[in-house]
């Protein structure tokens, strides 16, 4: 599973960052996210347990990061609506996935604004921690403040519970893809059954 996730992570086109291959950007994100877990596990457990649990955590992280990087939220919403899911629920999934780039862009704007006011994020660990604290507060507060306005905006644009949204451009869903989805679902159920029994 881990090998599969890492191979998928290295798939070209999964993300974008100047100067790095997209797949490598995702791999770097996975490794940076999973690294603290490995450190804690190594402190708390022996090597065998650390490897066993650490690989599972890394697999989960890799799967999620790859999903976020490779899946266009708008495409997911269209596919879910076309499959008959509630539009509100589909938007909830899509908005969760699209939150990462939105927050990243906003954090970039806040950092630039703070730089313009003389706060530098460069230097030693203490300076970076100060810059992180100065970034976190406006980032969280502005995100919370925006929730109210976004709720009003979505309401006025018709995204209310119980609607039957018209799919605009549903992604093609071939018989092979449908079969693959069912096979994966059955594989998960089989793995769960084996684990429990």
């Amino acid at each position: 599973m881990l090998a599969l996730a890492l191979v998928l992570t290295l798939t070209p086109g999964a993300g974008s960052s100047p100067g790095l291959r997209p797949g490598l950007v995702v791999l770097r994100t996975v490794l940076l996210t999973a690294a603290p877990f490995w450190v804690f596990l190594l402190v708390l457990h022996d090597v065998a347990t650390t490897v066993a649990i650490g690989l599972r955590i890394t697999t989960m992280v890799a799967s999620f990061v790859w999903l976020v990087a490779a899946l266009e939220p708008a495409r997911l919403v269209e596919a879910m609506v076309a499959a008959g899911w509630s539009a509100s629920l589909a938007y909830l999934f899509g908005a969760t996935l699209s939150a990462v780039p939105v927050l990243k862009a906003r954090a970039q704007r806040i950092v630039e604004a703070q730089r313009a006011r003389g706060l530098s994020a460069r230097g030693g660990i203490a300076a970076r921690l100060r810059a992180l604290r100065a970034l976190a507060l406006p980032l969280v507060l502005s995100a919370l403040h925006e929730v109210d306005e976004r709720a009003l905006a979505l309401e006025t644009r018709g995204l209310v519970p119980g609607i039957r949204r018209t799919p605009l451009a549903p992604p093609p869903d071939t018989p092979v893809e449908r079969a693959a989805r069912w096979a994966l679902l059955l594989a998960c159920l089989f793995a769960l059954f084996r684990r429990v029994m």
């Binding site: 708008a74 938007y91 939105v102 979505l154 006025t156 644009r157 949204r165 605009l168």
Partner: protein, 258 residues
């Protein structure tokens, strides 16, 4: 034929003791353009939220009096970046987001979206990714997105705030066109110079209550100018110490001079 009727409406936001609106009675007819003016905090934005049936239903709070809406409404809020769906690859998809949520057939969605893009002069940007747009362009996209839902009651909160002068002129022309088509328009704006040419009626709000209602000439009233609600020409006239009533526009001022 009325599109919106408010009778004795007072509104309190959650956890506040003083009302944001006090005993407001107002009606807006189909084909009419009503402008809300007032100082910051006068209640214009809140009045639009009540008219859109978003306050108190979505915002929370408490409302007394009655608010009757006879047409479906669409509201444009002042910050375009919080109104983008975040679910669109292109401007066309962004504008189609609302109509699709209404469950319309695809050919009707396409017709309304193309029409709204033309009205806002956005057709050349139809394939652009919304995240690459400037604030003014995105504001026009959001206005188009609301118009594509074909609301009978159009509510606009500072619609020209992000627009350059050309974009604002296009918007004011469009608002007159919407009224000609029979839509009711209720707008809150601090761009007072446009109102003599655009608005049929002006409602002056002060501390959540209606202080005066009348034709755009209201903006040349001595009391309105004293409250900072005069047009540029009226304000210059007043500052120069010339006697009232003040002229609203350059054309009015010229007529007075002659």
């Amino acid at each position: 034929m009325r599109s919106l009727t408010l009778e004795g409406v007072s509104f309190w936001y959650p956890a506040t003791d003083s009302p944001a609106l006090r005993n407001v009675s107002l009606h807006v007819a189909r084909g009419e353009i009503v402008a809300l003016v007032g100082a910051l905090g006068a209640g214009a934005s809140t009045l639009l939220l009540v008219a859109a049936d978003l306050a108190p239903r979505v915002t929370g709070g408490r409302l007394t009096g009655s608010a009757a809406r006879h047409d479906r409404s669409g509201i444009v809020l002042p910050t375009p970046w919080t109104q983008a769906s975040g679910m669109a690859f292109s401007v066309w998809d962004e504008v189609a987001f609302g109509p699709a949520n209404l469950g319309w057939p695809t050919h009707e969605i396409a017709r309304q979206v193309d029409r709204a893009l033309e009205q806002l002069e956005l057709a050349p940007l139809a394939s652009r990714d919304p995240v690459t747009l400037s604030g003014g362009e995105l504001q026009r996209v959001i206005i188009a997105a609301i118009l594509a839902m074909d609301p009978g009651l159009v509510l606009l909160d500072e619609p020209a705030a992000e627009l350059d002068s050309d974009g604002a002129r296009t918007l004011w022309r469009l608002i007159r066109l919407l009224a000609k088509e029979g839509k009711a328009v209720l707008l809150a704006t601090s761009t007072l110079d446009a109102l003599p040419e655009v608005a049929d009626r002006v409602v002056w709000l002060e501390d959540g209550a209606i202080r005066a209602v009348g034709p755009p000439d209201l903006l040349a009233d001595v009391a309105a100018c004293d409250a900072g609600l005069g047009t540029s020409v009226a304000t210059v006239w007043r500052t120069s110490g010339l006697p009232g009533p003040y002229p609203l526009t350059v054309a009015h001022a010229l007529r007075r001079w002659r």
